[in-house]
Symmetry: C2
Subunit: 300 residues, 2 copies
């Protein structure tokens, strides 16, 4: 099995590193020094796993032709230019998106006729260097068919990922899970980014718990209007996650702390666009969206 992982941030690195143990994995990077580091040293995975994977890396997709599966694992903000690079290439491959929010599949679908799988992931890690990623949360990646694929195709990739030592689950329809994660993320990431709090007990009780609950309720109303039955209740996901025993730092909090652009546009932005399309008011998500955007505006 030949796999290309396009984009090797935290999630891409975790997937590439683990999959390299059971398949022929190549990584498409944006920066030449990133590809050079991976080619020279391999990719070290620490934390819940501990090994160094040998894999190929390149900045030119031509060098990585012949893949059967291309996992598009870049951050949402980098998706458009990456999709542009993939256009006209990797004929015969199935492409799988793993972005936050909604709509990544359509960005890819517009650039070629590949069969497409859709995925969302709850695993997390810390990227220590171009060639070193720490595997922190061993939660699952969920996979479903999107275009020209079936639940059986999703299950085949899920099985491959599980055989590599990660958690994965396939569904016939990903939307109920994708939307559960969207509502969860739009709520937890923005609250963490604005308060500075890791995802801890404050999110599940008292005044902040009430705000989190109200944000989840707004999100659930949008899902209902969009005809999506959520697979998991985002409030239950929130309560469950705060009881893991150690506090997780959501990526949007890490982004604002490091003065990096956040995924607010993809996450809360997706939810707001769906709300607008279906005539649902989301005043609290709109408020938090504006506050996070303003926070980004004062990085300079």
């Amino acid at each position: 099995m030949r796999i290309v992982v396009a984009g090797a941030g935290t999630i891409g690195s975790l997937l590439a590193g683990h999959l390299a143990r059971v398949a022929d994995v190549a990584v498409l990077t944006r920066r030449p020094e990133h590809a050079r580091a991976l080619n020279e040293h391999g990719l070290r995975v620490s934390g819940r796993s501990d090994f160094t994977a040998r894999l190929r890396a390149a900045t030119d997709p031509e060098e990585l032709a012949g893949a059967e599966l291309v996992i598009v694992a870049c951050k949402g903000g980098d998706l458009e230019p990456l999709a542009e690079e993939l256009a006209g290439r990797f004929a015969g491959a199935t492409l799988m998106t793993v972005q936050n929010g909604l709509g990544a599949e359509d960005v890819i679908a517009a650039r070629g006729s590949w069969p497409i799988l859709s995925a969302v992931t709850f695993m997390s890690g810390t990227r220590h260097a171009d060639d070193h990623v720490e595997y922190v949360l061993d939660t699952a990646t969920w996979i479903g068919p999107y275009r020209g694929t079936t639940g059986a195709d999703a299950e085949a990739v899920a099985e491959l990922i599980r055989s590599a030592g990660l958690q994965a689950e396939a569904f016939d329809d990903l939307r109920p899970t994708q939307w559960s994660k969207l509502v969860f993320n739009a709520t937890v990431n923005t609250v963490a980014a604005l308060t500075g709090l890791p995802h801890d007990f404050h999110f599940a009780e008292g005044e902040l718990g009430s705000l989190v609950h109200a944000l989840v309720d707004e999100g659930k109303a949008v899902a209902t209007a969009a005809g999506v039955t959520l697979r998991e209740d985002p409030w239950e996901m929130n309560v469950h996650a705060t009881r893991r025993g150690h506090a997780h730092y959501p990526s949007m909090l890490e982004d604002v702390t490091a003065h990096r652009p956040t995924e607010i546009e993809l996450i809360t932005g997706s939810l707001m666009r769906e709300a607008g399309r279906h005539g649902v008011a989301v005043p609290l998500h709109t408020a938090l969206y504006s506050l996070v955007k303003a926070k980004e505006a004062c990085y300079s």
Copy 2:
């Protein structure tokens, strides 16, 4: 004229320093070293004014007996213990409160039968040391009667403050101005504290401007329900303030940056309590209140 300024933070220091040029001013401090610094070096005022005021200071109110006017200038969070110290003292004096939010007058009124004036101030400064305050914004202090006082009493104090080189204005009813400031503060302070932005153009345009407008609208609905006609439109105050040419850092932003307790309970808390009393929904102010409280919770 003998004046005691009780509490010499930024506002207390600005009032005490200027008034010492036209009256006999003593300062009641909490810390002995603060009183000692003022007694030894006087109080330096820089910025828009530039002089050193000679004044007396003490931590024991007994040493400051005989005042005709006591200006209660502490931060709202220090009001209860200070009111306790004033109880049974300063017979014959008029007391004037200058706290943010609503209700400071009642805390004082409950401790004695003094005539009471109510004030809000828009001036601002930076406290560089116990004996040095910089006068930054030369905006006005507004004064009105509260209990056992008249508009003429308010005007007499306003005139005294103007003669000392500060801006002041008297009103027969302070509530329309106090509430204007309350709605303005509940909006601008929380948004600044959460975004990290100084009070600049972002507050008056685009997405953040829309949020600010929506927060002001919630506040205006509470004022209307409470039977208060605002003297100035808080949205206009906001737009005007963002055009001053230099960006002001609201005190709540300075507080969260320095990991100090904020005045959220006094400011947004006052507004939420009035909203509850009059059955008005304030979901956005409630959301921002919860976020700022959560921000305080992660200082440790």
